[in-house]
């Protein structure tokens, strides 16, 4: 099942990524192939401009010696995986109850007008994507968003502007 083509693996997954995947693999019983799938997909996604191509998913499957479909199932189930190209910065805005009550709709509106895109879209320069997400467990700081692995809480339009600035948005 693992049509292991070593060349494809090394071109698709860097040595550094493999090291990281191996670190995750070491946490689970040696006879289990699947537990590192999620971590491996994250590592590979991070290396591949924030998204996973078919070829990357196959490479992960072959590297871990699991059926392709097993990886595909996982990649399509979890919302943090992107199976289409997205922006270098993905801005995830929570609109769930607490954030909604604290004005997330205004934050979304502000982000949309600043970036000139709608939720679920990517700026034409490929720099930013806007993503609506469910509760991120930071309701005490609602409204909130996550960008580049950092939670930003108690958002106001001004705060959003400075976040965008820090991320290099100049429009």
């Amino acid at each position: 099942m693992s049509s292991e083509d070593p060349k494809r693996l090394t071109t698709m997954i860097s040595a550094k990524a493999i090291e990281e995947i191996e670190h995750w693999r070491s946490k689970y019983p040696a006879d289990r192939k699947r537990p590192p799938i999620i971590a491996a997909l994250k590592v590979v996604q991070a290396e591949n401009e924030n998204w996973l191509s078919e070829e990357h998913m196959k490479a992960v499957a072959d590297y871990l010696d699991v059926p392709h479909i097993a990886v595909f199932e996982v990649a399509t189930f979890y919302t943090m995986f992107h199976l289409k190209p997205v922006g270098k910065n993905v801005i995830s805005v929570c609109t769930n109850l607490s954030c909604m009550m604290c004005g997330s709709d205004k934050i979304v509106e502000h982000l949309q007008s600043r970036l000139g895109i709608k939720l679920g879209e990517t700026t034409s320069d490929g720099q930013f994507s806007l993503k609506e997400v469910e509760c991120m467990a930071a309701c005490g700081g609602a409204p909130m968003l996550e960008a580049s692995e950092i939670y930003h809480e108690n958002l106001t339009p001004e705060k959003v502007d400075s976040i965008l600035n820090d991320l290099g948005w100049e429009a």
């Binding site: 099942m1 078919e54 196959k58 059926p67 479909i69 097993a70 595909f72 199932e73 399509t76 189930f77």
Partner: protein, 763 residues
């Protein structure tokens, strides 16, 4: 495991502890609606259709996943149960397209059936329905995923039964979709079973799509012609056309499964490749003629050659998938003429132990016993390619037991094998000798002669393991694979295998070619034995001799030796060189057009009655599902007429059952049960060779001609572009009828004989 008593709808029932409510209800013939539950798959409990009312539980519980408990009272029809079932039905239907009138599953759809009982007439769902894009997963299975109800039976089948995860459920929630990895074609050789498993019309058979509605079809029980298991099939047909083939449940043989070739090979006998009229070659040109002309010509030619060259220059080769009756009449015809050159062992190479062979080669234990084995040794067996359903059975044993293999060349198994020893064909003997040596080491009472013979052999650790596993497990067996017979030292292999079985105490089995090798032995389609293994005082030529040395005349009973035998090149030369070749075949095209002199159109496997004897010695008779195409006739009838035209005795059978009865009587009256006695050789042999294995859809004339099988992933293993193109071209054309029409036969004896071929359908 003890038993408990439960009550379902007021009926008191005994139940084994640990079983689920639904199993007990099913056994008692009480129907609980279900979609995800299937007795051959793990319990998923995801469809929630089987909710029932159980005493002491405030909620309705799924009958498929709720174990029985003593005193449990189950109501399948109480208000609570009915409300629960109705509500699930409503949920299932809101996103279902309800396109029953154009759905191939219409009329045999589990969803449709249950909806009739539990659905509401008026839908209060007014939102837009989900639409799912269809996926192309290959030439065998059509998908219409909008109809999918996410029962995951197909996914579980792949994971659990086949051991290949090809189908999966991707996405989540309402966006969950069933499919393969992106648009990957399905590869498994038993994939078609998901068509039967799918309770709705999401997965249907591509070749039979839109061909007929379920209620228009008639069904005839049949037996698959592809391997030695005798897989039970059901042939569905409408107005004389075979529409499709589906499994017929037989727990002892094929359970509820069939392989893809069992399911789709019928394509070859319904297509325009069929020979519909007899033909004679005149001055190198094929001419259509009537049966009388053709058969008279055959008789004249055979008599002429008998006169001029001697009857020992005539021989018959028979397909190992020919029926018992065909085998029996062919050998009777030959022997009536005076020739003993008869064989159905087309791929065998080593005939040196044929006199010691048993009544028929086969398994000493039942097919279903395989799943209980704690240790199994496969000797040069490639089950997935040769007996795919046996691979599924054996796979079950790996849940508790161990499978070991010693084989030549590449073998891909769908279960765990360890040790898994792969060697060149020339080292196979040494491997087996090592196992024998290990057993001798581990064993107390071995004869001095045997010990002496193996004194120089030092077993490897793998061989030690294999030996001790077979020895210490009470439930152990070995299987010599079908293609082991193609090994040039197969006699020695069989002796070694038998010795391993004797020393270790494990059960012995040999897997054989075609659907009816056992029948071929019992019918006497052999040069050295008459039917029921009666020793013949004259020994004729075997396949090898007939093809390598060459004969003046051949009768080919549904076989193309240049493809079906191990003597491909020799066959081509000898057949071209011979004076006269009679080809009994359902097909109009093939290399035989070059070497044959007469073509006699015979019925395809769905068009004739007959009997196959499987590898365990089980006799299974079947009737014709449909009438043969055009003027083609069941081969046994053609042989009977030929026998009579040749004025031979004993060709007065009026039905295939009569022929069967004649063989059976001889078989049952043999006192000499004929167990094989493999004689210890004076020295150990070494070396040997085996031809490259064929891809699984190149092994017989039916699969070779089935377009969809050839286009499938397994078929493309040996992708022969020209052949596929040829198949595509021929099958997309409408059937062209030859203008020559058949001359009515008048009332001579020959005529009335041939006239009997005109009977509408086979008895």
């Amino acid at each position: 495991m003890g038993t408990v008593t439960i009550e379902i709808d007021g009926v008191s029932l005994e139940a084994e502890t640990g079983s689920m409510i639904i199993e007990i209800a099913d056994d008692a013939g009480m129907h609980i609606p279900r979609f995800c539950y299937h007795k051959k798959l793990s319990v998923a409990a995801n469809c929630r259709m089987c909710l029932v009312d159980v005493s002491n539980s405030p909620k309705a519980v799924p009958a498929c996943a709720t174990p029985v408990a003593d005193g449990m009272k189950v109501l399948t029809n109480s208000t609570k149960a009915r409300i629960a079932q109705k509500s699930v039905m409503e949920f299932l239907l809101i996103n279902h397209p309800l396109d029953c009138p154009i759905c191939d599953q219409g009329g045999e759809c589990e969803l449709q059936d249950v909806a009739l009982g539990f659905g509401n007439d008026v839908s209060r769902f007014t939102e837009g329905k989900r639409v799912v894009q269809d996926k192309n997963i290959g030439p065998l299975i059509e998908t219409d995923m909008t109809r999918c109800i996410h029962c995951t039976r197909c996914v579980r089948f792949g994971t659990e039964v086949v051991g290949m995860r090809e189908m999966g459920a991707t996405g989540r929630g309402e966006h969950m979709e069933i499919g393969t990895y992106i648009e990957k074609s399905i590869e498994s050789e038993v994939s078609g079973n998901i068509i039967d498993l799918c309770p709705v019309g999401a997965l249907t058979a591509k070749p039979s799509r839109y061909k007929a509605r379920a209620w228009e079809m008639q069904s005839t029980a049949g037996v698959s012609p592809h391997d030695c298991l005798g897989t039970n099939i059901e042939i569905h047909h409408r107005r004389g056309e075979v529409i499709r083939v589906v499994p017929r449940e037989n727990e002892k043989i094929n359970e509820v499964w069939i392989s893809d070739r069992d399911r789709f090979s019928y394509q070859s006998v319904t297509d325009s490749e069929r020979l519909t009229q007899p033909k004679i070659k005149k001055d190198g040109q094929w001419q259509t003629c009537d049966w009388e002309t053709a058969l008279t010509h055959v008789c004249d030619q055979l008599n002429n050659i008998k006169q001029s060259e001697g009857v020992e220059n005539i021989g018959a080769l028979i397909s190992p998938s020919a029926t018992l009756e065909e085998m029996y009449l062919t050998q009777k015809l030959m022997r009536g003429l005076g020739s003993h050159n008869i064989d159905h062992r087309l791929r065998q190479v080593d005939f040196s132990s044929q006199f010691e062979a048993p009544m028929f080669p086969g398994m000493e234990f039942d097919i279903d016993a395989l799943e209980d084995m704690d240790a199994t040794l496969l000797i040069d067996a490639d089950l997935r390619r040769e007996q795919p359903l046996l691979a599924l059975r054996l796979r079950k044993s790996t849940r508790h037991g161990r499978v070991m293999s010693v084989h030549s060349g590449e073998v891909e198994n769908n279960f765990k094998v360890s040790p898994n020893v792969s060697v060149p064909a020339s080292d196979l003997l040494a491997q087996l000798q090592g196992i024998v040596a290990a057993l001798i080491e581990q064993h107390k009472e071995v004869s001095a002669e045997l010990t002496e013979l193996f004194v120089d052999i030092k077993p490897t650790p793998d061989q030690q393991t294999i030996a001790s596993e077979l020895r210490i497990n009470d439930n152990a067996c070995l299987l010599v694979g079908q293609s082991a017979l193609e090994h040039s030292k197969s006699s020695h292999i069989r002796w070694l295998a038998k010795t391993i079985s004797d020393l270790s105490g494990c059960a012995f089995g040999e897997l054989t070619a075609g659907a009816n090798t056992a029948g071929g032995y019992i019918a006497g389609a052999l040069p050295h034995r008459l039917s029921a293994a009666e020793e013949s005082n004259i020994c004729g030529w075997n396949t090898q001799q007939m093809l390598q040395k060459g004969l003046s005349a051949y009768l080919l009973m549904n076989t193309e030796p240049e493809l079906d035998s191990s003597y491909r090149d020799a066959a081509r030369v000898s057949l071209l060189k011979s004076k006269f070749v009679v080809m009994m075949t359902p097909f109009a095209k093939g290399e035989f057009l070059d070497y044959a002199d007469v073509l006699l159109p015979i019925a395809g496997f769905t068009e004739t009655s007959g009997t196959f004897i499987n590898v365990c010695g089980e006799w299974q008779s079947f009737t014709a599902a449909v009438k043969a195409k055009g003027e083609a006739r069941p081969a046994w009838k053609v042989l009977r007429v030929l026998g009579n035209l040749l004025e031979l005795d004993g060709f007065d059978y009026v039905s295939s059952q009569e022929i069967n009865a004649a063989v059976k009587e001889r078989f049952e009256s043999t006192t000499d049960a004929r167990v094989g006695h493999f004689q210890r050789p004076d020295s150990l042999e070494s070396g040997g060779e085996k031809p490259r294995p064929l891809s699984m859809y190149d092994m017989d004339s039916l699969t070779r001609r089935s377009l969809c099988l050839q286009m499938s992933v397994q078929g493309q293993d040996n992708w022969r572009r020209d052949q596929i193109e040829h198949l595509v071209a021929s099958q997309s054309l409408p059937e062209t009828e030859s203008p020559d029409s058949l001359i009515n036969l008048s009332a001579s004896s020959a005529e009335s004989e041939t006239a009997s071929l005109q009977e509408s359908s086979d008895a």
